[in-house]
């Protein structure tokens, strides 16, 4: 019997769940290196990759029961030891996977950026691409599973891998490439907020029909360690039965619980500095950990008035060297609840970073730390107020933070907003992915949605050249919103051509808000809500009857694969040839 493996390939933690026709989704512990030469199973696999030299970590300490000596580690030990070897540590590979400022197939991680002094330190170490780092997490999950289930190899099961709803077609494609590199020949992608909703459906059984009624709109509010992701799911009446449709997804926001921990650590660090106490790099990290615990304590129900922070001395002498501080509940409220979830109006908009002339390349962290402003902007863009909210992500374990979001949603909507009780917030996405695998086999309700964005190809307008002005670009809709897996759409004929022997490059755009555009619609590329993605390109080789320089008139076709990726095809109008447009993953200027 083929089973379903649900994989949450997270920014900071990955998880695995399993289901089959008889059994509901269950989380599956993941064996990993947890200490030097120690292997144990843990509920999650921290998404960290450590690439040390033999001087830094001997290979014997990294071996796994199913491997020989390894030169790298992923998981708990990678994260812990990596804190002492930041120049060898790959973190947040997933955020790099959707960062078009770099070539995502090039070996750029651990990221050096503008830190020239790291160049020598990193010269002898291995570096990997964001795709390869993701592949290693997936390969680890696969090997850990195979080691325990010899008769049921992972690549012979139905494998679901979750991606942020905001992932563009390139990042989705690269996730599939990473899965293939990891030895998963066939995977299916699923959006994380949908997975969280499936986990809720699985946990509630048939009772969800009592929670929701036609016309309800559920906000899935997913705040993880490093990212924030919003989606809206609408409940509709489908001939007497309840149907679910994902109607909107938000942007990829690099903002999460880690930012809160750092903010609190900065506050305590300043207190300590004022008292003349200095912390070294490792104590600084211990401080961030201590602040995370303080955050969890102070923002929970029945929180104490303050939480102590203690940082042990680094040397072998402990007593007398402990650095002490305290965070009060009031501090946590001001800094975290009011700082990250300020009370704002429904018309609030997130502040955008002003484009500086020169900026260090790196992850595009959100400029505005106010999650509620991002939320107001998201809801405002789609003009819908939720009637219910489903929380996901470790940060949302805090009752104070949940309360603040619910309070604001009620104020904005001017009515009650229900809170849906889902599964374990750390494991929901993996559990939901496994449950979705069962749904695909006909066991349960499916969320309809299709593609969350409409996609456009840039076409330069034919107009007289004006010095100093680039010709305006029109955007031709090639894939409307809501294309379901397996669906194709052919464009009405347009005068498009590929030149044989030359790489044809098309600018590529997306819009999450333009629901009405049908395939073939021609709009201004600078219209509101349209964002530019990486270009798509194709080189048609000169062969057979096709001579270099010849223009081949083509028609465009868009196809959403069963895997969940978007493919664009050029079909020769004379019927002789079809070419798939490739996403360019090269560095963008």
């Amino acid at each position: 019997m083929t089973r379903v493996l649900g994989i949450d390939l997270g920014t900071t933690n990955s998880a695995l769940a399993v289901a089959d026709d008889e059994h509901a989704a269950q989380a599956h512990d993941i064996a990993q290196v947890v200490g030097p030469g120690e292997v144990a199973a843990r509920p999650t696999l921290p998404s960290f990759l450590l690439l040390p030299t033999e001087h830094e970590v001997p290979a014997a300490q990294l071996q796994l029961p199913w491997s020989g000596k390894l030169r790298y580690a992923v998981g708990t030990f990678a994260r812990e030891r990596g804190a002492e070897l930041p120049h060898r540590l790959v973190a947040s590979a997933k955020s790099w996977l959707c960062n078009s400022a770099i070539d995502r197939t090039a070996q750029v991680l651990p990221f050096r950026g503008a830190q020239r002094e790291l160049e020598a330190a990193m010269a002898d170490g291995e570096r990997v691409s964001p795709v390869n780092a993701s592949a290693r997490y997936l390969a680890h999950l696969r090997a850990a599973w195979d080691d325990e289930h010899e008769d049921e190899p992972a690549d012979e099961q139905d494998v679901l891998v979750t991606v942020p709803a905001s992932f563009d077609p390139v990042a989705r494609e690269l996730t599939v490439v990473a899965a293939r590199e990891a030895g998963f020949a066939n995977v299916t992608l699923l959006e994380e907020p949908q997975a969280a909703f499936y986990a809720y459906l699985a946990a509630r059984g048939e009772k969800w029909r009592d929670d929701l009624k036609p016309g309800d709109v559920v906000l899935v509010c997913d705040v993880g360690g490093g990212t924030t992701d919003f989606s809206l799911i609408e409940v509709a009446d489908d001939g007497g039965a309840l149907a679910l449709e994902r109607i909107a997804v938000g942007d990829h926001i690099l903002l999460g619980g880690d930012n809160m921990d750092l903010a609190l650590a900065a506050l305590v660090g300043k207190q300590l500095a004022d008292a003349g106490k200095t912390l070294d790099a490792l104590q600084q990290r211990a401080l961030v950990h201590a602040c995370r615990r303080a955050k969890e304590t102070l923002l929970a129900d029945d929180a104490p008035a303050s939480a102590p922070i203690a940082i042990l001395a680094r040397g072998s002498k402990l007593i007398g060297g402990t650095i002490k501080a305290e965070v009060t509940r009031a501090d946590a409220e001001t800094m975290l609840v009011d700082g990250f979830l300020p009370k704002v109006g429904a018309d609030a908009r997130a502040e955008k970073r002003r484009a500086g002339g020169l900026r260090e390349m790196g992850l595009p962290y959100a400029h505005d730390p106010a999650i509620t402003r991002h939320l107001a902007e998201f809801l405002g863009r789609f003009g819908r107020m939720p009637t219910a909210v489903l929380f996901n992500g470790g940060v949302m374990k805090s009752s104070r933070l949940r309360e603040r979001i619910v309070e604001l949603l009620r104020t904005w909507a001017g009515r009650e907003v229900a809170v849906l009780q889902g599964a374990d917030l750390d494991l929901a996405v993996a559990l939901g992915a496994a449950h979705y695998g069962r749904v695909r086999r006909g066991k349960g309700v499916r969320i309809r949605g299709g593609t969350a964005r409409a996609y456009y190809i840039g076409i330069e307008s034919a107009m007289p050249a004006i010095p100093g002005f680039a010709p305006p670009v029109k955007a031709l809709c090639v894939a409307p919103q809501g294309l379901e897996e397996g669906q194709s759409v052919a464009l009405p004929d347009d005068e498009l051509g590929l030149i044989v022997g030359e790489t044809a490059t098309f600018r590529f755009f997306a819009s999450a808000s333009r629901k009405a555009d049908a395939a073939g619609a021609l709009i201004d590329a600078d219209a509101a809500g349209v964002v530019e993605l990486d270009p798509v390109e194709k080189l048609v080789e000169a062969e057979g009857e096709r001579k270099a320089g010849e223009l081949v008139p083509v028609r465009l076709e868009a196809h959403v694969t069963e895997v969940g990726t978007l493919e664009l095809w050029c079909v020769a109008r004379d019927g002789h040839g079809r070419w798939k447009l490739e996403y360019s993953v090269r560095e963008r200027e």
Binding site: G37, V39, Q61, Q63, P65, A310, L312, R314, S316, T322
Partner: protein, 196 residues
């Protein structure tokens, strides 16, 4: 390559010493007859049988004994390493408390407690041998195991005995112990740290 791993036999033995009573069946098989416990815990710990057989030597019994001793030592040291890494327990116990203020000791102890508690929570499920509040009146039943319940004072006649619960005891009902890779020197409880 599985052969380069061994189950944490000695770690389990160490826990036996730390937490009291019983050793799982798989481990009991490896112990001398006299050391075998009578009863076994209800929950089966996740321990697999060791696959690595000692290489044939003139005296296989002696070689097995040596290997078991080695594993026992490695496991005990690995536990210390874990408590040191997470809770700085070795530093704490080795440090001198003479002349230190209670506040200083308390400040360090808070973190040592948190770390050691984490190690316990992560690796062993504990429950009282005899549930009940301290100083509660309890009855020691007929046929009780003296290894589980230690009588203090003079017991007259045959059980059941009525007495006062002084300590409810601890039993490790489940253990989730890391597997240890071979080729790692477990005598290094904490490596020297040099910032370069």
């Amino acid at each position: 390559m599985r052969g380069s791993f061994h189950p944490w036999l000695a770690f389990v033995c160490f826990f036996k010493i730390l937490f009291g009573r019983q050793v799982p069946a798989e481990i009991a098989e490896l112990l001398p007859e006299t050391a075998k416990p009578k009863a076994l815990p209800a929950a089966k710990p996740e321990i697999t049988k060791p696959e690595a057989k000692p290489e044939p030597k003139p005296d296989p019994v002696r070689a097995a004994k040596q290997s078991a001793t080695q594993h026992q030592r490695d496991g005990a040291l690995a536990l210390l390493a874990l408590l040191q890494r997470e809770g700085r327990l070795v530093d704490f116990a080795r440090d001198s408390v003479d002349g230190a203020s209670d506040a200083d000791i308390g400040a360090a102890a808070r973190e040592v407690h948190r770390g050691c508690r984490k190690v316990l929570d992560q690796h062993v499920t504990l429950e009282p041998v005899m549930p009940g509040e301290d100083d509660a009146k309890v009855t020691v039943p007929k046929g009780f195991d003296p290894a589980e319940i230690r009588l203090i004072g003079e017991a007259k006649g045959e059980p059941p005995f009525v007495g006062t619960l002084r300590h409810h005891g601890w039993r490790a009902v489940d253990t989730k112990l890391p597997t240890l890779a071979e080729g790692v020197d477990r005598a290094v409880i904490a490596p020297a740290e040099v910032e370069v």
